[in-house]
Symmetry: C2
Subunit: 126 residues, 2 copies
C-alpha cells in the first residue's frame, strides 16, 4: 500500500496546524488510486512528529511512504531536517520504502495557480 505523508513545519498557532490537517483530508478525498491513504506530520511544534507519522502509515498498512514537504523553499528544513527526521522512524527499512517528493515551492505550476487566483481576485475587485 502506498501512503502520502504531507510534512509541514508546525506552528504554535493551532489553526495553522489544522489547516494542514484539513489539506491532508482534502487530498485524501481527491486522490484516486495513486495513494491508499494520505496523512500529515509536523517537523516541530505539532503532532504527530515525522517519525511518528511514518510509523502510523506503516501501522496502517503502508509498504511505500511518499513524504511531500509542504514548504516553499529549499532551506535547512527541507534539505537537512526532514531527511534526518525520516531516518528516526522505527520501521523495517528492508520492507518499507520511504522517499521524499519535491517540496511544494518547487512545483513548476505554482506560478500558473498564482496567476489564475490573482486574476480572479483583481477582476472581482475592480
Amino acid at each position: 500500500m502506498k501512503h502520502l505523508l504531507i510534512v509541514a513545519h508546525g506552528s504554535r498557532r493551532q489553526a495553522s496546524n489544522d489547516e494542514v490537517r484539513q489539506l491532508a483530508d482534502k487530498i485524501r478525498l481527491k486522490t484516486d488510486n495513486q495513494f491508499d491513504d494520505v496523512s500529515c506530520a509536523f517537523l516541530e511544534l505539532a503532532e504527530p512528529s515525522i517519525p511518528e507519522g511514518i510509523e502510523l502509515c506503516v501501522e496502517n498498512g503502508a509498504s511505500n511512504v511518499t513524504v511531500m514537504p509542504y514548504f516553499l523553499s529549499a532551506g535547512r528544513h527541507v534539505v537537512t531536517d526532514i531527511p534526518e527526521e525520516i531516518e528516526k522512524a522505527n520501521i523495517d527499512r528492508e520492507k518499507i520504502k520511504v522517499s521524499i517528493a519535491p517540496y511544494l515551492g518547487s512545483i513548476e505550476s505554482i506560478a500558473d495557480l498564482m496567476i489564475e487566483k490573482a486574476s480572479q481576485f483583481v477582476n472581482s475587485n475592480t
Copy 2:
C-alpha cells in the same frame, strides 16, 4: 496600470529570496493582460521591503497594486504584519488602489497540484 506584488517572508538564506524573485519573473512572463508588471517584496530579512515594493510599483506606473502573500497559513504575518506594512507605503491613497489577494495556502487547487506532483513522483520512483 495593474501590478502584482508577490510578498514573501524573506530569509537569511539568499537562495530562498532568489527563489521568490525567480517566481515573480516567471509569473511576469506568464501573465497575459491581467497585470502590466509583476514584482516581489519581503516582510523582513530581504529587499525590497513591502512599502518599498509598493512605492516601486507606483514609480513604474501602477495605479492598482495587488499584493499576494506567498505564505502557507493565515498566521500573524498574513493577518497583521502584511496589512501594517502596506499602510507604511508612501503613496497617494486617493489615486493608488492597493488590495490584498488570498494568500497562497488558501488557494483551493493547491491540493490538486500536490496530488498531481506526488503521483508523478511515485510513478517515476517505483
